[in-house]
């Protein structure tokens, strides 16, 4: 198969966005959290791999913004910290 399937396009997968360092700090300040209190996502996660290929290199310690479609709140935004593994 010539074209590889982008997992981010699957209907089960919500939007993933890479947050620039500055914006991540702003978000953490707003939520009064430290980085390690965020939920995690692995560097080897298929979505992170796809994000890496599209939006530039993703490294450990970066924050990923996830925009979910939720049945209770319509659109909900959450953040995950990229960890190793």
């Amino acid at each position: 198969m010539a074209e590889e399937f982008n997992v981010l396009e699957h209907e089960l997968v919500p939007e993933h966005h890479l947050l620039p360092e500055k914006e991540a700090e702003k978000v953490l300040k707003e939520l009064k959290l430290t980085k390690d209190q965020l939920p995690k996502i692995r560097l080897a996660d298929p979505c992170i791999r796809a994000l890496d290929a599209i939006a530039g290199p993703v490294e450990e310690g970066m924050v990923v913004k996830i925009v979910r479609r939720s049945s209770t709140s319509g659109v909900s935004v959450c953040y995950r910290l990229v960890i190793r593994g």
């Binding site: 699957h10 939007e15 995690k40």
Partner: protein, 481 residues
């Protein structure tokens, strides 16, 4: 590669990369260097130089060994034709934009669903900003009465809300539900399976949607289905063992083969590639004959077994594929599941195809997809039993299970077994083991959770118990100076 492991031995002893490569290329192994006579040492000196030799001999003599490096899987690097992040959230309507602007101005927040509901009711109505503002004020006032209070113990509420209706579930329902004559685990066993994050569900099922070009064409759908369904040799042929001539004879069943669209040549090719039978098969008349290359009955027996299980066609792990018409289109349902491989098949609609194996979704599509899958599967299981559980409870469970970046089970091996507090773990299961181990390693319990505080008889850290009042004596508080 043998040389690679030889190099690794040197590396673990602290010899640098280049030297160890040179050594192995020169035909030296670790033992040779370690037991080197003077002559060998001289040879080595020629190869490496005096300084390096000294280092090498020291390194070889030292008892210390570097820990074996854990092999890390190289990260996949997918390449896409179009470099663009897909957008999945619907765009905001003009009215929604107006409402959000008002909210942003006063830096207040309302969930998207509430805003879009107001917007959809106001569609086409001309309304001044002032009135909108008032409406939002009222909405927020109402909304705040419904918000969960800070320090509310949502976990316990979720556990009760799922647990109580759970008692109403039939213990074992083996239902032939919905999907064409397919056996699906439902009810409590299925719910337990989801929450336990079991690797393979007891009845793995895939729902394979097809691309527009194929989903209405029954012939094509049949072809795709037969390509997905796993066919072993035994499914299309009889396998006999002839002890006199030391041969395994495969009698192909033409009718079955025709139905599955397989040619004898294809079978022969697959057989010659298969493990255990490699290169031994040949055509004779209408049959395929495999000659045993050793005069051993044991080997003959093994060949016969390998032949029977030789995969001819299909995706590993998928036993059966059934075609059903859903909403005017054909959808393939399968018994058995292998998401990663099925997503590689042509004409499969990769965006909608899904499985009920949560671990497989995690591996192929990531944590966020697994989170969604847990929510979907759990709420569907409860719904099928006629139980209504608010989805927020299930979402909480699912969030907890996926918060570490992978799917963790609820229970001894998962979340409850990994609590940081000793007392909380001991209160859950295998009390003495936890306490003993904590005693040996000198664990400290900071009494931050609920269970620990109940055990020691303190107010628990939820609700009003989580708030501490501090009185600052001296009339004015610091902030008021």
């Amino acid at each position: 590669m043998a040389a690679k492991s030889a190099i690794e031995v040197f590396l673990r002893k602290g010899v640098d990369d280049k030297t160890s490569q040179k050594l192995v290329e020169g035909g030296y192994t670790f033992t040779k260097v370690a037991r080197a006579s003077d002559k060998v040492k001289r040879d080595l000196e020629k190869l490496l130089g005096e300084k390096k030799l000294k280092q090498l001999l020291e390194a070889v003599k030292s008892k210390e060994r570097m820990p074996r490096k854990k092999k890390e899987k190289p990260l996949k690097k997918p390449e896409f034709a179009k470099k663009q992040l897909p957008v999945k959230v619907p765009e905001r309507t003009p009215m929604e934009v107006r409402l959000f602007k008002i909210l942003d101005k006063s830096s207040r927040v309302l969930p998207h669903a509430v805003v879009s509901e107001i917007a959809s009711r106001l569609e086409g109505v001309d309304i001044p900003d002032k009135l909108l503002e008032k409406m939002i004020d009222l909405t927020i006032e109402r909304f705040e009465t419904h918000v969960v209070d800070p320090n509310e113990s949502v976990g316990i509420i979720a556990a009760q809300s799922i647990g109580e209706p759970g008692t109403q579930m039939t213990m074992r329902t083996f239902h032939y539900a919905g999907v064409a004559e397919m056996n699906v685990t439902l009810g409590l066993p299925r719910l337990i399976e989801i929450v336990d994050a079991r690797r393979v569900p007891s009845t793995p099922i895939m729902e394979i949607h097809l691309e527009d070009a194929a989903q209405d064409d029954l012939e094509k759908v049949r072809e795709i289905a037969s390509n997905i369904e796993r066919t072993d040799l035994i499914d299309i042929a009889d396998v006999d063992t002839d002890i006199n001539t030391m041969e395994v004879i495969v009698k192909l069943d033409r009718k079955k083969m025709e139905r599955k669209n397989i040619t004898p040549e294809e079978v022969l090719r697959k057989l010659n590639k298969a493990k255990g039978v490699k290169g031994l098969a040949e055509m004779r008349d209408a049959n395929i004959v495999i000659r045993c290359d050793e005069p051993s009955y044991k080997k003959l027996q093994r060949i016969s077994e390998d032949t029977k299980l030789c995969p001819i066609k299909g995706v590993e792990g998928i036993q059966r594929a059934v075609i059903r018409r859903v909403g005017g289109h054909f959808v393939i349902y399968t018994e058995g599941s292998n998401l990663e491989k099925v997503l590689e098949i042509a004409h499969v609609d990769k965006k909608r195809t899904s499985t009920n194996s949560i671990l497989e979704i995690y591996e192929a599509l990531g944590v966020e997809a697994a989170r969604n899958a847990i929510i979907n599967e759990a709420s569907r299981t409860l719904e099928e039993q006629g139980l209504t559980v608010d989805i927020r409870h299930i979402m909480l469970v699912s969030d907890l299970m996926t918060s570490d970046g992978d799917v963790k089970a609820i229970g001894r091996h998962g979340i409850s077994g990994r609590k940081s507090s000793v007392l909380a773990r001991a209160a859950f299961e295998i009390t003495s083991t936890h306490l003993l181990r904590a005693g040996i390693t000198g664990e400290v319990d900071t009494l931050e959770g609920v269970v620990e505080n109940i055990i020691v008889g303190q107010p628990v850290t939820v609700g009003t118990g989580a708030v501490n009042l501090v009185w600052a004596p001296g009339g004015k508080a610091e902030g008021e100076k």
